[in-house]
Amino acid sequence: QQQVKQSPQSLIVQKGGIPIINCAYENTAFDYFPWYQQFPGKGPALLIAIRPDVSEKKEGRFTISFNKSAKQFSLHIMDSQPGDSATYFCAASSREGGGNKLTFGTGTQLKVEL
């Protein structure tokens, strides 16, 4: 059972475009929503994270939008660059069990073309 559903599976945008990756969750106990970025041959690295007490968080060109009532959150990449080409994973966890268990989405392969 996939508790965090991520879409699309892959995405191609032109340089300067704004790719949007969406995630939806079912477990209302989730209270921490990170996004990870993974380059080929490397492990995932934390990109940005949000808690449900805010509806939006920006860090540089990366923005998370969060809709608690719809149980959805999304990643927007402003002014995308070829160097942003990577696989992106959303994830979620709850304070239950000390917040140890991250549940990941299935990933989105992003390609930014010149």
Partner: protein, 111 residues
């Protein structure tokens, strides 16, 4: 910077072999994790450990075991490797209430 080191980048083993994957972190983190990553399935948690000699099952523990004898080292053991365990294996560590830091993975092929 946190460094999580996985001992092998690529590993090829035969069906039925006992396989050990090793992970070492250098930041004295309490928590360590083992995931497998498969295309279209994302990352799935196999086991995690919140202290030396302590472990908990993740979402897909069947066919695996773990060992944590020292705080910095967390080992994943495939008791009798099977072809469906061919995958990318990722280790992570974290301090309590902090983000997880991942190693670069071990790509394991079981023939």
């Amino acid at each position: 910077d946190v460094k999580v080191t996985q001992s092998s980048r690529y590993l090829v083993k035969r069906t039925g072999e006992k396989v050990f994957l090793e992970c070492v972190q250098d930041m004295d983190h309490e928590n360590m994790f083992w995931y497998r990553q498969d295309p279209g399935l994302g990352l799935r948690l196999i086991y995690f450990s919140y202290d030396v000699k302590m472990k908990e099952k993740g979402d897909i523990p069947e066919g695996y075991s773990v060992s944590r004898e020292k705080k910095e080292r967390f080992s994943l053991i495939l008791e009798s490797a099977s072809t469906n365990q061919t995958s990318m294996y990722l280790c992570a560590s974290r301090e309590l209430n902090q983000p997880q830091h991942f190693g670069d993975g071990t790509r394991l092929s079981i023939l």
